[in-house]
């Protein structure tokens, strides 16, 4: 698949979304709502569950599968209250010393009047800085679309993984083609130049692991659950200062001189 074909594939309705991962990897998932400030954003699902028996906090951006759920989930485009709900759950995870697992799948944070007037930028910024020093392990998995600020707001983690066909980019190829080249038809080229595939990002040192697509593995969820457990257990055993030092350094080295 070309990079742009991957972009189209992750946007198509037949791809697995966060609810599928949550249902199949964890047990006892208990959804918890609301940011305690403004409202409850259904584009982000958050709660507590067990991963191989261990209590964890799970957060996922949800796009929905059919028209009805897509509308309910605002097509996976979160408002500030969604990011604040996620942060509230992360702070609870820190308090009760349980790791955080995030599933990221969004074309971007929502652009609209309400989102701006309630501080979309401030909500994202706060997540970035709080996640950098959250005193429990964080693992983020990009399962489909990783759209810019709306994606990184849940991807400041000890490890960031991507599904083989997932994409992660600072801007959509459409946006890049029209802003930079004033030519919306150059999307294919833009997708290639932006280096947005899992393979590119692994080479650039931005992600740690590429996960094979579910269609390629018979026991996909079991396998993913197993490596998640391994990684989380490894990170839970680290002294907190070392964990945070490594997390800082992971991002610090990108573009270092």
């Amino acid at each position: 698949m070309t990079p742009y074909e991957k972009v189209k594939a992750v946007r198509s309705g037949d791809r697995l979304t966060s609810v599928d991962f949550i249902k199949n990897i964890f047990t006892e998932f208990t959804e918890l709502h609301g940011d305690r400030r403004f409202g409850d954003d259904s584009a982000i699902i958050a709660g507590i569950a067990r991963l191989s028996g261990m209590p964890v906090t799970v957060i996922g951006i949800e796009k929905g599968h059919d028209t009805k759920t897509k509308i309910k989930r605002n097509f996976g485009m979160a408002h500030p209250e969604g990011y604040r709900k996620a942060l509230r759950q992360m702070k609870l995870a820190e308090k009760f010393n349980r790791p955080v697992i995030c599933f990221v799948d969004t074309s971007g944070a929502y652009c609209g009047i309400g989102a701006e007037e309630r501080g979309q930028a401030q909500a994202i910024a706060e997540n970035l800085s709080e996640m950098m020093t959250l005193r429990v392990p964080i693992l983020s998995v990009l399962i489909g679309e990783g759209g810019s600020g709306g994606a990184i707001a849940l991807a400041v983690a000890d490890e960031v993984w991507m599904l083989e066909n997932a994409v992660y980019s600072v801007i959509s190829p459409e946006g890049c083609a029209s802003i930079l080249w004033k030519n919306p038809e150059k999307v294919e080229e833009a997708a290639k130049c932006l280096k947005m595939t899992a393979k590119d990002l692994k080479e650039l040192g931005v992600i740690e692991k590429i996960i094979a697509e579910p269609s390629k593995i018979s026991n996909f969820y079991e396998e993913l659950g197993r490596i998640m457990t391994e990684t989380i257990e490894k990170n839970m055993s680290l002294p907190v200062d070392e964990l945070l030092g490594r997390r800082y350094e992971k991002f610090r080295k990108i573009g270092r001189r």
């Binding site: 609209g112 989102a115 930028a121 950098m132 020093t133 980019s169 600072v170 802003i179 280096k195």
Partner: protein, 290 residues
């Protein structure tokens, strides 16, 4: 004397017309119309008014070094990492040419100037973004320079003053620019957790990935009058929701009313304002008091 006559506020319509005619005698290349009040200004006069319109106070964009001269005490600014310039990590087509042009246009190597200075005697670190360098777009060099500045300020236990202006993340550096949001945020957080002060001044325009990271992470967030401050730009929102945005939306005054910034401070008052805040947070002073 002539200047004063030309730019005196008209007392009535007739005078106003006369004013216009007279102004047209000054060559166009030496004049500029204020985009807000439309009055004609002589270019060489503008710096005398802190790069603002002498009539309506409209704030023109201003380059980074001019700002540093305006804020830092004379002779105290010592620059950091001036020579660092961008690398085309992704082999993005046309990026080298864009960078070369930006260097020629601005005489800077990148879109931020960083260093240590004193403001009315208070030592601090300062970063000022450069609007003319690829619209202050944030790539790895800006991320690296600002991160290093916060790290050095943390070591010395000194405040950081930041001036932001940015079109957002730099597309030509793809995901690496996005990662700078997390990287800088990490350094800001460490500096903050150690009890150090960070004051940020948002200037026109501060958008995208810069707003969604270090622009919104100040202990105290100030803005210049009328500055556009947003995550998604007005055009993008209008295209998404297919309706016109209300006047003043995403301007500094709007953010103040929504509770996202602490104060709007005009350019001419900024040095005194920053200096007052620095002194109010001076830990040496409070130690003395104990």
């Amino acid at each position: 004397m002539l200047d004063r006559m030309l730019f005196r506020k008209p007392k009535n319509e007739l005078e106003g017309n006369r004013d216009k005619k007279a102004a047209s005698n000054v060559p166009d290349s030496m004049c500029v119309a204020c985009p807000q009040c439309k009055k004609t200004l002589i270019k060489s006069d503008i710096p005398d008014y802190y790069n603002t319109c002498q009539y309506c106070g409209h704030h023109f964009r201003m380059n980074a070094r001019q700002r540093i001269n305006m804020i830092a005490d004379k002779g105290t600014f010592s620059e950091r990492m001036r020579g660092v310039s961008a690398i085309n990590f992704l082999d993005f087509p046309g990026y080298e040419t864009k960078l070369e042009n930006a260097v020629l246009e601005t005489a800077e190597n990148e879109g931020v100037v960083c260093g240590r200075c004193e403001i009315n005697g208070s030592p601090c670190f300062i970063f000022v973004m450069e609007p003319s360098f690829m619209m202050g777009s944030m790539g790895t060099v800006i991320g690296e320079k600002i991160t290093s500045l916060f790290e050095e300020a943390l070591e010395e236990g000194l405040p950081v003053i930041g001036y932001t202006v940015s079109g957002g993340a730099r597309m030509q550096e793809g995901i690496l620019s996005l990662m700078q949001m997390a990287k800088v945020s990490g350094a800001v957080k460490r500096h903050s957790d150690a009890g150090n002060l960070y004051i940020v001044v948002l200037t026109d325009p501060t958008t995208g990935g810069v707003t969604a990271s270090f622009a919104m992470e100040g202990d105290i967030i100030l803005a210049e009058p009328g500055a556009l401050i947003c995550f998604a730009g007005p055009r993008v929102i209008e295209q998404t929701i297919r309706q016109k945005l209300p006047a003043g939306f995403q301007r500094a005054e709007f953010l103040l009313s929504k509770g996202f910034i602490d104060e709007i401070v005009s350019r001419k008052d900024q040095k005194a304002y920053l200096s007052k805040l620095l002194k109010l947070h001076d830990r040496r002073e409070s130690n003395d008091a104990v």
